[in-house]
């Protein structure tokens, strides 16, 4: 049992690394997607709606497989880590698009109208009036997305990225101790998720208007 700990700790770091990269990519896709969904240009709105619908309407695992196994056929050759991170990031970005858009549209219309009446441009009223209020509201729902994303990194086990679930699976095979391996990996996931959750709570408290 003792000799597996270093492998699990290393794998946990890979899971953390994957989660951070996926989160950054997801937030970027989400911000871009949300701004397109709210654009005045119909074709941008249409592209973003299609992005959200297609990536939320199909399994993330299939998206990972298409990029990793199918990518080389269309000239995209990536290693498992890169392909997995990109696929998961773009996938969670579709969910984050809806989260961010939801927070922005929930800001009272009167705020925009008042800002525009005061002579601000569309962009100024968005940046100085709407976004600061929307940002506070999106912290919690984005936290839910991030929680899902961390557990979602397990989807890279089938393409042999040596993260926590893949490591647990490997040692279940070699040690025949499935419950212990599950518990070990599970505890590490829960510690990570707990720490991230506390961070989000802290951010949310700080962002509250008192």
């Amino acid at each position: 049992m003792l000799r597996v700990y270093p492998f699990f700790l290393e794998a946990a770091l890979v899971t953390v690394h994957l989660s951070v990269l996926t989160c950054i990519l997801g937030l970027a896709c989400g911000a871009l997607g949300a701004s397109m969904r709210l654009s005045r240009l119909a074709f941008l709105r249409w592209i973003a709606a299609a992005y959200v619908s297609l990536f939320r309407g199909t399994p993330a695992l299939i998206q990972v497989f298409i990029l990793y196994f199918g990518g080389p056929q269309i000239g995209i050759q990536l290693d498992a880590f890169a392909a997995g991170t990109i696929a998961l990031g773009v996938n969670i970005g579709a969910y984050m698009t809806e989260t961010i858009r939801g927070a922005i549209v929930s800001v009272d219309r009167g705020q925009t109208e008042a800002a525009r009446t005061l002579g601000m441009s569309r962009w100024q009223s968005m940046r100085k009036v709407v976004l600061p209020q929307a940002a506070r509201m999106m912290i919690r729902p984005l936290g839910v997305n991030i929680n899902a994303l961390i557990k979602g990194t397990a989807l890279l086990a089938p393409i042999s990225v040596v993260e926590l679930t893949q490591t647990a699976q490997r040692f279940i095979g070699s040690t025949y101790k499935p419950f212990e391996m599950f518990l070990l990996a599970g505890i590490l996931y829960m510690i990570f998720i707990y720490v991230v959750g506390q961070g989000i709570n802290w951010l949310d408290r700080r962002a509250r208007i008192t």
Partner: protein
């Protein structure tokens, strides 16, 4: 090696079979997650502490870890203690329990939100504690959370792709089998994605109708 979608129709039957299994798993696990969710919710709220604590611990473990890890535990772990479940059954149980935990959280909140007067009224009319829960409180609580439970069903459909990893011959594995013969991953995974998308649209449409009917019956 460019793309050639002309090979896909040759494996149409295989993909269709896979789709059938995906739908079967989704329905089986969906039912388990629905009734399991109610059972967990009632136990977590009203059960004796000796069963309430393990149920809470189980829920906490299942919400904090990835589904794939849970599937490995159920499939390989139960073999270890002498229970050799077929992959399909293990998959349905794993998916069903995972989403039962999520449904249970929704139902618990909903039960607590049912007006106390409903409970008191039923007790006054002579219904026992169990009858009041079964006939008055739970039906109202469950109806109120049909929309968010519908979202869980959609998530379940997509997560059913994970059971391919423990060897259930559903849509994702059917695509993999076609790929192992044709070496055309892009075409077949895209075809599988398309099939999931269709099932997803059908499920969403069904859920919307259900929600409208519930709203109308109130």
């Amino acid at each position: 090696m460019g793309l050639d979608f002309t090979v896909v129709p040759d494996y149409f039957g295989m993909l269709l079979m896979g789709m059938g299994w995906t739908i079967a798993i989704t329905i089986g696990a969906g039912l388990l997650s629905f009734f399991g969710g109610i059972a967990f919710a009632v136990t977590a709220l009203y059960g004796h502490w000796a069963i309430r604590l393990p149920v809470r611990l189980f829920a906490w473990l299942f919400m904090g870890t990835p589904l794939l890890l849970q599937l490995f535990l159920i499939y390989f772990g139960l073999i270890q203690i002498g229970i050799d479940l077929p992959a399909f059954v293990a998959g349905v149980i794993g998916l069903g329990l995972h989403f039962a935990v999520y449904n249970s959280e929704l139902i618990q909140a909903s039960i607590l939100a049912v007006d106390k007067g409903q409970y008191e009224g039923a007790r006054t009319l002579g219904l026992s504690r169990g009858q009041t829960l079964r006939r008055i409180v739970i039906p109202q609580a469950v109806q109120a959370v049909i929309p968010p439970m519908g979202n869980n069903m959609i998530a379940l459909l997509k997560d059913s792709a994970l059971v391919s990893v423990i060897g259930v011959a559903e849509l994702t594995l059917a695509a993999q089998q076609a790929i192992s013969r044709t070496y055309r991953p892009f075409e077949f995974y895209l075809a599988a994605a398309f099939c999931y998308y269709i099932i997803n649209l059908a499920l969403e449409a069904g859920l919307r109708r259900l929600e409208r009917r519930i709203a109308a019956s109130r």
